[in-house]
């Protein structure tokens, strides 16, 4: 792949989904494009690019994106933040809903990858609200359709569950040989579906969330796409709703519209 070809493809992907590959990623992108070319049997980049763009179903673009996104994730990632969510944020949300008869919590795991984050949140909410008159639901979305399939299956290897506390492992997973299957009672309350965070029409439908987790996703975006997504998040939150970014990420270079809240275990952004 020449640098010109790389730039053409890079800009195309950027316009479609906001992920930005700089020149240093040429090799990374090239390897994956070559694999895609082999699998559909075209032998020039030009032919491939044309194929992808004129495939009105968008299937090849999706396949390529599935190959290009970084999907690394595991259960109970960034423990301190999750503690903050469990011990400080959830009680605050419930308190805020004190005058409502049926308390309903809505959570969004944006960029959920293979689902570990969403299931982790489900475990936490279940633990924290067990026995209370509270209902909850989790929306878990990603751009990559392959990871969503895996997420729905709910089947994980040892590595993914290494940070899950023993009690929870026993309570919420079913051991199947070397694998661990999420119990169906958790799975029922999570909706997995595809959503591109830069898809304005569909982002607009996301409303009334109490909390959004968007951890380790925006790092792949460039400045202006980050701001755009942050604005959609702002509109998707209820007044007072919270956003969790990855612990090395910050809104400070994205947009100043969220309030900063200091909790014992983390700093969280609030609408």
């Amino acid at each position: 792949m020449t640098i010109e070809e790389f730039v053409k493809l890079r800009d195309y992907i950027y316009r479609k989904v906001g992920i930005y590959f700089d020149e240093k990623k040429l090799y990374y992108v090239e390897k994956r494009v070559e694999a895609r070319m082999r699998s559909i049997g075209v032998d020039s980049f030009r032919a491939y690019f044309a194929w992808m763009r004129f495939d009105t179903s968008g299937r090849e673009l999706q396949e390529l994106l599935n190959a290009l996104t970084v999907n690394e994730t595991y259960f109970f990632r960034e423990y301190q933040q999750l503690r903050c969510f469990a011990e400080e944020v959830i009680p605050e949300i419930l308190k805020g809903k004190n005058n409502q008869n049926s308390k309903r919590i809505r959570i969004w795991s944006a960029g959920c990858s293979t689902g570990e984050e969403a299931y982790t949140l489900a475990i936490i909410i279940k633990e924290m609200t067990g026995g209370m008159p509270v209902t909850w639901e989790i929306h878990a979305t990603d751009l990559n359709t392959d990871v969503l399939l895996q997420a729905k299956k709910g089947l994980y290897g040892r590595r993914a569950v290494k940070d899950v506390p023993e009690v929870y492992l026993a309570r919420y997973f079913r051991r199947m040989g070397e694998q661990f299957e999420i119990r169906s009672e958790l799975r029922r309350q999570i909706y997995f579906y595809q959503l591109n965070l830069l898809d304005r029409e569909n982002m607009r439908k996301m409303v009334d969330f109490d909390v959004i987790f968007c951890r380790n996703v925006l790092i792949y975006f460039d400045d202006s796409s980050r701001r755009e997504v942050a604005l959609y998040f702002y509109d998707a939150l209820r007044k007072g709703g919270y956003i969790f970014l990855g612990h090395s990420e910050s809104m400070s270079r994205i947009t100043p519209i969220f309030r900063l809240r200091k909790f014992k275990n983390a700093i969280i952004y609030q609408k």
Binding site: R200, R227, E228, L231, D235, P256
Partner: protein, 192 residues
Amino acid sequence: MKTSKVKKLMEILSTHPEERERRYAAMELSDFPREDVVEHLVNRLVEEKSRAVQEAIVSTLITIGTEAVVRRCAELLRSEDAYLRNSAIEVLQLLQHTSLGVVKELLQDPDPDVRLFAVNVLGELKVKEAVELLCRVVEEDEDVNVVAAAVEYLGEMGLRGDDRETVRKAAERFSDPFLEYAVEVALRKMEV
């Protein structure tokens, strides 16, 4: 059809009581990179009281990214409102190549603050012409702060022999401890 939709969006952006509606109207206008839309967006950016709506307008201006955006944002550099000034810089920085012409003019502005903004935009431009322009600033500008900013950017770009000379000479032109510090740091960065 299209025109009436644009009209409606502009109307919502300026009068709708719900912030959320104004925000989405602003974002949807990014599909219409027309001069009158840009004009309206910038006017609303100035008038709008909600920061979140203003941020949506900035986001749309960046997406539209035409000459008209650059020209209108350059005018905002003289605004009394610091948020507007700094948003304008951000837009100009992100619109890199489109901004170059306007930025060149701004380098000749009598107001040193405006020249400083121009240098801030140039510093983010990754083109050869930006380096040449920054060198000229370092050699000719009368304001220490403007020169120091140009020196900082040249240091970050990591440069050839004669650029080092240019930077070194700047310290002699003014005798100021801040500029001396800036030159020292830039030369050190250029070494590696």
